[in-house]
Symmetry: C2
Subunit: 228 residues, 2 copies
Amino acid sequence: MMPMTSIEPTIRLTQASEVTEVLVQDIISGQLPEGSRISEPELSRRYGIGRGPLREAILRLEGMGLVVRAPHVGARVVTLTRQELSEIFAIREALEGIAAREAARNMTNEDLIDLGQLIESHARYVDEHNGEAYMDQEGDYDFHYRIIKASGNKRLIRALCDELYHLVRIYRRSSNSAARPEQALTEHQMIYKALKDRDGELAEILMRRHIARACREIEAAIEQQQNE
Amino acid sequence: MMPMTSIEPTIRLTQASEVTEVLVQDIISGQLPEGSRISEPELSRRYGIGRGPLREAILRLEGMGLVVRAPHVGARVVTLTRQELSEIFAIREALEGIAAREAARNMTNEDLIDLGQLIESHARYVDEHNGEAYMDQEGDYDFHYRIIKASGNKRLIRALCDELYHLVRIYRRSSNSAARPEQALTEHQMIYKALKDRDGELAEILMRRHIARACREIEAAIEQQQNE
DNA sequence: AATTAAAATATTGTCAACAATATTCGATGA
DNA sequence: TCATCGAATATTGTTGACAATATTTTAATT
């Protein structure tokens, strides 16, 4: 056993999965804007692959909710109305709440230590940069990612990390959402404390409020954006 | 506008979507048992269609979580371990809780009247049948369906009705889960009252407890089933 | 006999052509 | 000029063949 010494782990990804990644990136980056058509012949030419794998990729995007398909008509990049965005956040609130609750039960002590270090590095960053930017919001994602992963619920992880988050990122691209870093940091610290205390109920409540607040901020930002 | 008088609304479904339905039914009915391989050539012959539409159907099943696919190996019907079943119920608890909360805000008065009638018919049924069977559990689904639909959250509806429920139904097939009807009916009535009072918070709490209890019942049934 | 290696087989992944449907463009009429 | 109808075009849906990979069978060696 262990016959081959190949470092390269023979991960010859399939074309369909590769082009799926590319399409996700193109949508999130805005190269394929919201509402734009997904033309099979065009993309087939652009990426130099047949329509078969491309269709598989589009099917996957539909599963992620990044694309809407109509029979005999084709696929379009989803357009996130304000309504839909708030729908997505409602789901996120529910799911991440559960994730926090289960994480409180399932996190290892090592997980907790790592999470504490992450928060400390965020705190330093916010301190040094006078509350600006907050690591381009990536740090926020890190925090949420780790808790979701720590929940140990595979379907939950898939639903949040592989599906919902892409949708949120689409929105984040176009809006320069403020994201008050001190406030967020404080909330993270409280959630962390609840996790460390293994208080799943409290962790859930705090996580839900954290996300609900972020949702309200975004809605306010949209409001403001529309009034200028 | 409105040029054609065709009653038949030109719903010429695509082969892929038709075979998707068939496969879902076959999986839920147990004709394709848990863990069995999904062979493309075999099913292609059996249903008399090409492999293209069949692959699209399999992709969709994967999106629903009914099937697990491995590159260059193929797809298998998912096998629901006890662990996974409890994962699914955790997600259901979170999502249906939110659905109840939003339904309390968005239900029309007519929706409420209809729901009340549904509960009354359930009550009559339980009364007449001395607490047996409870309409093959279909009535329970009806109740949940209506609340989910009434939430008005399209993504939530899709996640619950088009994806999660199929998974629960797979399990229900093999187990003759008892489902104590009086208890369930009482819980339904309480949820209904909260909805009528437009008390979203309470409706959410009650719905979550309702589902958590069902989950515990199922786990107990599994336990018992294994010990015989 | 058991284990490994190699060939044969079967299955999945991909491609290119064809069929069915939708969209676009232009012609015709009022 | 505008609306409506029809032909032309383009796109999606489907098929069958081929390529790449995995699985099974067979053969050979220890």
